[in-house]
């Protein structure tokens, strides 16, 4: 189990893990308040200023899984993996306009989750339930994938176990994480995010300086990567039956449509996730959010550099069974053991921060939008915090079980499908920030249509595929072809269907349900 262990790297790794464990527990005394109230436990009392929010949101959105998976796609097929960059470019102008409005109305009415806002705005408990269920469903596989990232770096440290012991390190890590999240709530990941983000920046800057130096500059790196892709394409063509490999330093024509639509759809989905909203609503003001839309792109830039690690791994001749091992193996190839341990610790902490925020976001959602309205309406804030803390434990155990019993490939597919589902609450949330013209029941039926269409599109012949050509063989109707000639991200196609349905039905189904918000609630001091 330990015979191949890289002792130096493992020691550094354990040191940083121990450090943040202490921080996680100490965090309960930071900005001291009564952690038995759900607003304090699950939203940090909405007292995080611009910089704390920057670290928390950065740590929360740019996860370990991202650090592993994006370069893995670049390593495997090249340019296509770079879709994460336009995705993160388009998101911030959009957030600049919308999120201060959501923050203001949530602050005014005490909303903590997407479901809270939807209920207050449309007065429709079923729409609230749909929004809440979508969030929890999409978050579960996302947390599980953080564990995959964690496991990749632990195996790169040289740990190998059989049977039950194979998952022992991540189980220990998750139990510790569960304990301090239980005690400190959102304060724990907020505090750990300082350490994690600083380490990620050090790791990435070192990597983009040292590795090109070792490999003879970026010119040589991209030339070597080009050769590797050419060899892959040739090998595919020579195989029987011939396989057409879509890989290269730029997008091949068939990839352009998916590249664009994946960026748009992913951007629309991201801030619908409970963990993204938790991070946003814990900010202390609309100004703190606006500040972050200008400063979070620093993480996007780093993400672009991280994506380049995939090209560097090709040039370094890193050979791996699964592309997801490319970054850990590149780190081992390029750095001395102690710094490799530092990098792995950075990636591992990159799993813990989002996993904590995601479990808190899911716990808040379950407590406020499922348990309270449907099981125990007379809950006090204290009782809410008891349920939320307990659910945060359940969610983490659930994620562990997913990793124990489900093939990784399936968890990955589920996460992709989660994005397709998550974007279906976009119309209710974002349109709702500007107008009450849409009715709750129309949005609910739109949501259901989007969920069905998105899931059906994903049900491909070979595997669950994220994109689909814009032509279908519909039951009863026959073949339909939009004639656009490109494939689109399923989430985007489905949410367009969702919006059209919601719009048409809103013409017919006018809602008389109460709206507890007024137009001025959406403006904060600055916008008013």
């Amino acid at each position: 189990m330990f015979e191949h262990l890289n002792v130096v790297a493992a020691a550094v790794f354990v040191f940083f893990f121990a450090l943040v464990t202490v921080l996680g527990f100490v965090a309960s005394r930071w900005k001291a308040a009564d952690l038995n109230s759900i607003g304090e436990w699950g939203l940090g009392g909405r007292r995080f200023g611009p910089w704390v929010t920057w670290f928390l949101l950065g740590g929360d959105l740019y996860t370990a899984y991202t650090v592993i998976a994006i370069p893995a796609v670049v390593y495997a097929i090249g340019a296509y993996g770079f879709f994460a960059v336009p995705y993160t470019i388009i998101i911030y102008p959009f957030l600049y306009l919308t999120m201060p409005r959501l923050w203001a109305v949530s602050h005014k009415h005490g909303y903590m989750t997407a479901g809270d806002f939807v209920l207050g705005r449309y007065g429709n408990p079923w729409l609230e339930l749909a929004v809440a269920m979508t969030g929890i469903l999409a978050t579960m596989p996302y947390i599980a994938l953080q564990l995959v990232g964690l496991e990749k770096v632990i195996s790169a440290l040289g740990f190998s176990g059989a049977g039950v012991m194979a998952h022992a390190p991540i189980t220990i890590a998750f139990v510790i994480l569960a304990l301090y999240t239980y005690k400190s709530g959102l304060r724990a990941p907020a505090m750990i995010a300082f350490v994690k983000d600083t380490m990620i920046y050090v790791f990435v800057i070192a990597a983009v300086v040292v590795i090109p130096y070792q490999l003879g500059g970026f010119g040589a790196i991209f030339a070597a990567a080009q050769k590797a892709f050419d060899a892959k394409i040739a090998a595919g063509a020579a195989a029987t039956p011939a396989v057409k490999v879509a890989a290269g330093l730029t997008l091949i024509p068939g990839q352009v449509g998916p590249y664009i639509t994946l960026a748009i759809g992913s951007a629309m989905a991201l801030f619908m996730y409970p963990h993204a909203l938790t991070g946003t609503l814990s900010a202390s003001s609309g100004r703190a959010i606006r500040f972050n839309t200008m400063t979070l792109p620093a993480y996007s830039f780093v993400l672009g550099l991280i994506a380049l690690l995939g090209v560097m791994a090709l040039a370094a001749g890193v050979k791996v069974g699964s592309p997801q091992d490319a970054v850990p193996q590149l780190v081992l190839w390029a750095f001395p053991d102690w710094f490799a341990g530092f990098c792995f610790a950075a990636i591992a902490l990159g799993a813990l921060v989002p996993a904590a925020v995601m479990s808190i976001g899911a716990a808040n959602t379950f407590t406020r939008n499922i348990w309270k309205p449907f099981v125990h309406p007379q809950m006090t804030p204290h009782e809410e915090s008891v349920v939320a803390k307990f659910v945060s434990l359940i969610v983490k155990i659930g994620a562990l079980l997913v990793i124990f019993f489900m093939p990784t490939k399936f968890a990955l597919d589920l996460q992709l499908l989660g994005g397709v589902w998550m974007v279906q609450i976009f119309p209710a949330m974002i349109f709702g920030l500007y107008t009450r013209w849409f009715s709750g029941s129309a949005l609910l039926i739109g949501w259901a249509s989007g969920m069905i269409v998105g899931t059906a599109l994903a049900w491909g012949d070979t595997a669950w595929v994220p994109v689909h050509a814009l032509k279908w063989d519909l039951p009863l109707i026959g073949p339909v072809d939009l004639g656009l000639g490109f494939a689109a991200y399923n989430g985007l196609t489905a949410v367009v269907v969702n919006m059209v349905v919601a719009m048409l039905l809103s013409l017919v189904l006018r809602s008389k349900a109460p709206d507890e918000t007024s137009p001025s609630d959406f403006l904060d001091a600055e916008a008013a």
Binding site: I90, P93, Y96, G217, T250, P297, L305, L308
Partner: protein, 56 residues
């Protein structure tokens, strides 16, 4: 003007055929990669300027 500053970089970012080329390179990095990285910075500056205009 405010909306132009916010959304012009988005339009460019989504117009993939515009930058889907290898040349010109910068420090050996193909255009596809360095242009998008540069665009991240440009878009952040765009938001900053839009914010300044909005407050004035």
């Amino acid at each position: 003007m405010r909306y132009l500053l916010l959304f012009a970089p988005c339009v460019v970012a989504l117009w993939a055929p515009l930058y889907n080329v290898v040349e010109p390179r910068a420090f050996g990095v193909p255009f596809f990669y360095w242009f998008q990285l540069l665009l991240v910075l440009v878009s952040a500056i765009g938001i900053y300027l839009a914010d300044r205009i909005g407050k004035a």
